[in-house]
């Protein structure tokens, strides 16, 4: 997404941008022994924090968005951050709590979404095949067929599963964030990222295997040897 000119230009003129690695990304590398090596990532997930220049969080966009939706979601947050600027810290905290309560109420009042899917539909389609390779299904006969992935050359900005992820992010995940921030003091990103990744993005940063420990080692006779 950040390779797109429209997104990059928008970010550059609207924000002072920075990125941080929350943890190394799990990588699966299969060496086929004949010189061919396949490399894929597992369990990547992202969060975008809009912060004031004091480093405190104004709001958070969780997960993956389509480029257009990303810009559309960031713009009001940019304006909100600018409006917060002149206030004192205590006033800013009160204003932000009120903002998050308002957004929480609005999302709760919105039409109920379909059954919540804890995993990004688009991201899961990209990664599920790799996870199925890494952790053998308990009953291979009934193993779920790998979902369709986008064809090579597909414009991911128009890929429907990504749009589904975006809607889930905007409805369910942002509701979780608004609920949390409605009662929080001012927070810096590093004070909330562990909660965000565990509760909203379903990737526990404190789990060294990111939830794959049991499927990988649960019935592994060599588990004690490998430690």
């Amino acid at each position: 997404m950040f390779s797109r000119e429209d997104v990059a230009s928008f970010i550059q003129r609207s924000f002072e941008p920075a990125w941080e690695m929350v943890r190394p990304v799990p990588i699966v590398r299969i060496d086929f022994g004949n010189g061919h090596v396949a490399t894929r990532t597992l369990h990547g997930n992202i969060a975008s924090y809009v912060c004031g220049t004091d480093g405190n969080v104004v709001d958070i966009l969780p997960g993956i968005y389509t480029p257009a939706a990303y810009q559309a979601a960031l713009e009001p947050l940019r304006q909100l951050a600018l409006e917060m600027g002149p206030f004192s810290q205590s006033d800013r905290q009160a204003q932000l709590q009120a903002y998050h309560r308002t957004r929480q109420t609005a999302l709760n009042s919105a039409a109920q979404p379909a059954q919540a899917n804890p995993n990004d539909l688009g991201k899961r389609r990209m990664e599920l095949r790799v996870e199925q390779l890494v952790s053998q299904p308990v009953n291979p006969v009934n193993a779920t067929a790998p979902p369709a992935r986008p064809r090579p050359g597909t414009n991911l900005a128009d890929w429907e599963p990504l749009a589904v992820d975006t809607r889930q992010n905007e409805q369910e995940r942002r509701l979780q964030i608004h609920t949390r921030l409605a009662t929080s003091n001012l927070l810096r990103p590093d004070q909330i990222k562990t909660w965000l990744y565990r509760e909203v993005l379903h990737a526990d940063l404190e789990d060294p295997y990111l939830g794959l420990g049991n499927p990988l080692f649960g019935d592994d006779v060599f588990r004690e040897v490998e430690g």
Partner: protein
């Protein structure tokens, strides 16, 4: 069976070789080991001109008046697999 001086020399040389291998494989903070760099090569982190750190972005925002956008991810933006 090695005599004591030979054993001490063997253990000393083994320990030294192991320490050198560890030091030789050590890296400056924030950089990837050579073998990892080959397996996950560096790439341009998109078209955005990212600040070096969150703190630097906040300081820049203090001058420009712009709010800060912090992007959190697993892996590194400047590596192919992230």
């Amino acid at each position: 069976m090695l005599r004591s001086p030979d054993r001490r020399r063997f253990l000393r040389n083994t320990f030294t070789a192991g320490a050198l291998a560890t030091l030789g494989g050590g890296q400056a903070p924030g950089s990837a080991p050579r073998e990892e760099a080959a397996a996950n090569p560096r790439v341009r982190p998109g078209r955005v001109r990212w600040h070096e750190s969150f703190e630097a972005a906040c300081a820049a925002g203090g001058n420009s008046g712009k709010p800060v956008l912090l992007f959190h991810m697993m892996g590194r933006m400047d590596q192919k697999f992230c």
